[in-house]
């Protein structure tokens, strides 16, 4: 999102025929909460942590504060292996907001033995024709994170993921 403040509602022009254009540019500030803060703090130290349900033992990466199956607080922290399985992926062919230049690949990654999956960009894939990318990956492939040199405690401390060696 743009960081520069703008009017929350503004009108750029009025179409004399039948359109009345306006845009919303609202500034929100989300409380990320203790669980997410801990996760991001650990990322800054190049560790991937998840929470575990004390009843069923399921591990969640990214962390979640509750196990949706047991409705129990998942308040135990565990470090997970820095390997993942690609559960699904998709290639985006259209420009969207501040995303990378298309085509780019977004993966649904099961990190370590997590019961849930995490989303991240999959990069370092060689191709000639963009359409090749659609069939370039397979569900079940092993992937690994590539850490950013400069880490600020957010999801992009992992710069991207790539197919594991």
């Amino acid at each position: 999102m743009d960081t520069e403040l703008d009017e929350s509602v503004s009108t750029e022009e009025v179409n004399p025929e039948y359109k009345y254009p306006f845009h919303w540019d609202l500034d929100f500030s989300l409380n990320i909460g203790e669980v997410n803060r801990r996760f991001f703090d650990e990322l800054e130290e190049k560790r991937i942590m998840g929470t575990r349900c004390p009843e069923c033992g399921d591990v969640f990466v990214p962390p979640q504060s509750v196990c949706v199956e047991c409705y129990t607080k998942a308040d135990e922290w565990v470090e997970v292996e820095q390997k993942g399985i690609l559960e699904s992926y998709t290639v985006c062919f259209f420009e969207f907001r501040k995303m990378p230049e298309p085509p780019y690949v977004t993966g649904v990654i099961r990190v370590g033995d997590s019961a849930t999956c995490m989303m991240h960009f999959i990069e370092e894939i060689e191709y000639d024709d963009p359409m090749e990318l659609v069939d370039k990956l397979e569900k079940g492939q092993a992937v690994e994170p590539v850490w950013a040199d400069d880490r600020d405690g957010d999801i992009f401390d992992m710069d991207h993921w790539r197919l594991a060696e």
Binding site: N36, E87, T90, C117, V134, K139
Partner: protein
């Protein structure tokens, strides 16, 4: 408990643009629906709006339509999970004795980018940074489907073309060009295996449905149909087991409840309208609704079963690939179901039409599914 009838309905029809204001659309469509039902605004007990503020470009946007929907001084309610859920709730209100006459009102009239609106509805910390939106979620779902089965892009395209063939015969539909399988495959790639014509357009228009209890229905000359059973279920937001997502447990749960309530089996359904925002949802929907065994979804397209002239037409309206108004799509699909009971849409007279609606125009995670059974005769 009372049975609930569809006393009447109206739609403005749908297109890629409208020059009418939201209140103009609602007023014209609502008046037409009340007249079609043979009731007046004074008979009306409750109004249920269905839609989302972002699509209307205004917070509490239903409040601005109190006058045009004849909701002044009546208990109103907004449902954000789609027209199917709104009808499910309206029926519950009538069956509980809280109302005799209820309208379900929806309109789409503000031009905006639906993909960005969808992005804003996604989780902020882990999904939005990767541009997660409705189309991305359909891409994940479809890619996973193709990777784990023998289904091909050609199967997806044939399913889309089947919908477009039906839409070409529906004067209310938005896309009526009758695109072929080849045209669908040749359209621009958008996300994963999905092309532009495997995804719905942004459609504009309005739809209103009038529901009444059996006493009111008995006083009317005729009704359009009866709601024999309904079911609703909501899934998890977080991405977990992708295979579980393909199994569509919420759709199966909602369908099971609706079938039980209507006292019917899947074989008793003559036709269906489905909120399928990509062909993969339709093929897997056949399986979740027990129209075929798991893994056999594509065969219903290839053998013509679900074509407009087949024994089980699915999306005789053309479905969301042809007409996709995010606020009023579910109400419109209910109207399309009733029109098939009356022999006014499609090529057959159906006695029983299933409606599967959901809120997946915003994306697939945390979806809410609703299944409703519309019948020609009261149980």
């Amino acid at each position: 408990m009372t049975d609930v009838a569809v006393a009447g309905y109206a739609t403005s029809g749908f297109a890629g643009e409208t020059d009418k204001s939201g209140n103009e659309l609602v007023l014209e469509t609502n008046m037409a629906a009340l007249e079609n039902a043979g009731v007046t605004h004074e008979d009306l007990d409750t109004v249920m709006f269905t839609g989302q503020d972002p699509y209307d470009g205004a917070a509490i946007s239903d409040g601005q339509k109190i006058a045009t929907s004849a909701a002044y001084r009546k208990p109103i309610m907004r449902i954000q999970s789609g027209g199917g859920v709104a009808i499910h709730q309206a029926r519950a209100k009538i069956r509980s004795g809280k109302a005799d006459v209820v309208t379900v009102v929806a309109a789409d009239f503000v031009t905006a980018d639906p993909t960005t609106l969808s992005w804003s509805s996604h989780e902020a910390l882990y999904h939005r940074p990767f541009g997660m939106n409705n189309r991305q979620s359909y891409g994940f779902f479809t890619q996973n489907y193709l990777d784990g089965s023998d289904v091909t892009r050609e199967d997806l395209a044939a399913t889309a073309a089947k919908n477009y063939e039906a839409a070409a015969e529906n004067p209310t539909a938005h896309r009526r060009e009758g695109y072929s399988t080849e045209a669908v495959l040749d359209s621009d790639p958008v996300v994963g295996p999905l092309t532009e014509l495997m995804l719905g357009p942004m459609s504009y228009g309005a739809a209103v449905l009038v529901l009444v209890d059996e006493d009111v229905a008995a006083e009317l000359d005729e009704v359009r149909g009866w709601v024999g059973g309904t079911g609703q279920a909501t899934g998890k937001y977080k991405y977990r087991d992708m295979d579980d997502r393909l199994h569509q447990p919420t759709l199966r749960d909602a369908a099971s409840t609706a079938y039980d309530e209507a006292g019917i089996a899947p074989d008793d359904v003559d036709a269906a309208e489905m909120a399928t925002y990509a062909p993969s949802f339709e093929l897997l929907g056949y399986e979740a609704l027990d129209f075929c065994a798991d893994g056999e979804g594509p065969s219903l397209v290839h053998d013509g079963t679900t074509a407009i002239d087949g024994p089980l037409p699915v999306n005789a309206s053309g479905g969301p690939l042809a007409t996709s108004p995010p606020n009023s799509g579910g109400v419109y699909r209910a109207i399309a179901a009733c029109q098939q009971l009356e022999g006014e849409l499609g090529r057959q007279n159906a006695d029983r039409v299933l409606l599967w609606d959901n809120d997946m125009h915003l994306g697939e995670p945390a979806r809410t599914d609703a299944v409703l059974i519309f019948e020609e005769a009261s149980a």
